[in-house]
């Protein structure tokens, strides 16, 4: 059994609650259980990360959370609402920015896309897209096409699109896995910046242990097959965090070692 007891004494109701989520692909002899009884709560305003080895079903989990895929059993609640379809208050940043941005639309039109059909005037839409683009450091790129930008800049556009949507909860699926190390560090810091500015709840799925610690207030460690929650590790590192200083503290090293141990522990 998984111990999902919270080590934090947070008092608010969870923004996102995952209760006994299981996912099995196929049935009969070909059945393959990916997720087995995954439970955790994400609280309003916190940044949490989900870390686990490759093939642990992280993307499956995220798709269930985002309402893009039904679970076999268990449920996901966003606030008090059970998630059965992609909820309005939730935005997703996908890993593969080159495929998640529409190449036929300009950067500005990509960011405005989720705002369409919501009764906003063109000017209002434009303004919100501009402000989101400015927040990710791309104020002058609206008229370019995504493929004219570097990978890191494209992922910034994808983040801006999510910001323009003004979600309560931001889900990020391995958002920085396809960019170089320096860009990755910049985007990690950008995540802290937008968190400070917009104050939404953020859940980042990653396979990178350092990243999971650096970004989050709590790290949800997945392991085993089928995957379940091994432990939820609170991260008490001070803000603002710094790529060099934070990562060279004793606490950071301890957390990293602890999580590495959990991830590598063979399935029971």
């Amino acid at each position: 059994m998984t111990d999902t007891t919270l080590k934090h004494s947070l008092t608010q109701a969870p923004a996102l609650s995952v209760q006994g989520l299981s996912k099995t692909y196929n049935s009969g002899a070909a059945a393959r259980q990916i997720l087995g009884n995954v439970s955790f709560d994400i609280y309003k305003g916190e940044t949490a990360s989900i870390v686990g080895p490759s093939g642990a079903g992280k993307t499956t989990l995220l798709r269930c959370l985002a309402g893009l895929q039904p679970s076999t059993s268990g449920a996901v609640y966003l606030g008090n609402e059970k998630v059965t379809a992609p909820p309005r208050q939730l935005a997703v940043v996908f890993q593969d920015y080159s495929r998640s941005l529409m190449p036929w639309l300009t950067v500005g039109a990509n960011v405005e896309l989720p705002l369409r059909g919501r009764g906003l005037t063109a000017a209002h839409r434009h303004e919100r897209a501009q402000s989101a683009l400015a927040s990710v450091g791309l104020p002058n790129h609206a008229s370019l096409h995504p493929w004219q930008l570097s990978g890191g800049m494209q992922q910034r556009v994808a983040i801006a699109r999510a910001l323009a949507f003004e979600p309560d909860v931001l889900l990020m699926d391995e958002p920085f896995a396809s960019v170089d190390a320096q860009t990755r560090a910049d985007l990690e810091d950008l995540t802290h910046t937008i968190k400070e500015k917009y104050g939404m709840t953020i859940l980042v799925v990653t396979h990178d242990i350092e990243e999971s610690v650096y970004l989050a207030d709590r790290v949800i460690v997945l392991s085993g097959s089928p995957t379940s929650v091994a432990e939820i590790v609170p991260v008490d590192l001070a803000y603002p965090r710094d790529q060099v200083q934070t990562k060279s503290t004793r606490e950071f090293a301890d957390l990293r070692a602890h999580i590495l141990g959990l991830v590598r522990r063979p399935a029971a």
Binding site: R63, A66, G67, L68, P86, R88, L90, A91, V92, F94, D96, R99, S100, M102, P103, W104, L105, L113, P114, R116, G117, H145, W147, Q148, R161, F165
Partner: protein
């Protein structure tokens, strides 16, 4: 400035051979007495004749029928293709029937079309539609079915309404394939309009061609043939311009933009 030089250089490399070929044809046919191969000079003057005296009665009807037929084909092909592409169960059920119908050459329907629509423009448009709708339809289905799962996820997770989904995601995503299909349909349309004008017709460029050949007016026949070539070529150029504009993003995405449009 450099772009202009590049452009003219590009045009020159493209145009010198056709110009040379026509010049050679002109010169070598000047004193031709062959009944089948009259001098190009005479063909050219007959071409001028067709364009001035028979434009409204023959050229225009051909163009109108071709245009109408292609418009209907494209509209029908895209709409049916969207429906079939978006509803896999329907496509699975309709696919054998579609493959069967598309295997029937468009011209094979001429006899029945004659019965049903007479020899007027309706028959010609119907023949073009029946023959030329398939490439657009099949390519639209393929284009829609081939849309990246991630693109669909994005559209779903951001809760796009049906209209925005169709207009800003599905159609543009499938547009490279749709346009490739239209290109084939245009070529088929030209073939079918000529074929339909061969049969019990009283007007059109194909009619001029057949009628003049029967009357041994080979210069007029050649002129009609040249006109068909010119029209087909012009349609292609026009199409390339449209394609160039619509698929700018696609070229950019593939990194194949050759700098000629910058």
């Amino acid at each position: 400035m450099k772009a202009i030089v590049n452009r003219s250089a590009g045009l020159l490399t493209e145009i010198w051979l056709p110009v040379a070929a026509f010049a050679a044809w002109w010169i070598f046919s000047l004193n031709s007495t062959s009944m089948y191969f009259p001098p190009l000079a005479r063909i050219a003057s007959e071409l001028g004749n067709i364009l001035t005296t028979r434009f409204a009665t023959d050229v225009l009807p051909s163009l109108q029928n071709l245009g109408t037929g292609l418009l209907v084909s494209v509209a029908l092909g895209i709409s049916a293709g969207l429906v079939l592409g978006l509803v896999p169960a329907l496509y699975a059920a309709a696919s054998p029937l579609l493959e069967f119908m598309r295997a029937i050459p468009g011209v094979a329907l001429l006899p029945i079309a004659l019965f049903m629509f007479g020899i007027g423009p309706d028959m010609k448009v119907a023949i073009i539609v029946f023959g030329a709708v398939w490439p657009v339809l099949m390519n639209t289905v393929d284009g829609v079915r081939g849309i990246d799962v991630l693109v669909k996820d994005v559209a779903r997770s951001y809760g796009l309404g049906p209209w925005n989904h169709l207009w800003r995601i599905i159609l543009p995503a499938a547009s490279p394939q749709i346009i490739a299909g239209i290109r084939v349909s245009v070529a088929l349309g030209v073939i079918l309009i000529v074929a339909s004008e061969y049969i019990a017709s009283t007007e059109g460029i194909g009619f001029i061609e057949l009628q003049s050949a029967r009357q041994y007016h080979m210069d007029v026949m050649w002129a009609a043939l040249l006109l068909l070539g010119i029209l087909g070529y012009a349609a292609n150029v026009l199409f390339r311009v449209v394609e160039h504009r619509l698929l700018r993003w696609h070229r950019g995405l593939r990194g194949t933009e050759q700098g000629e449009s910058k």
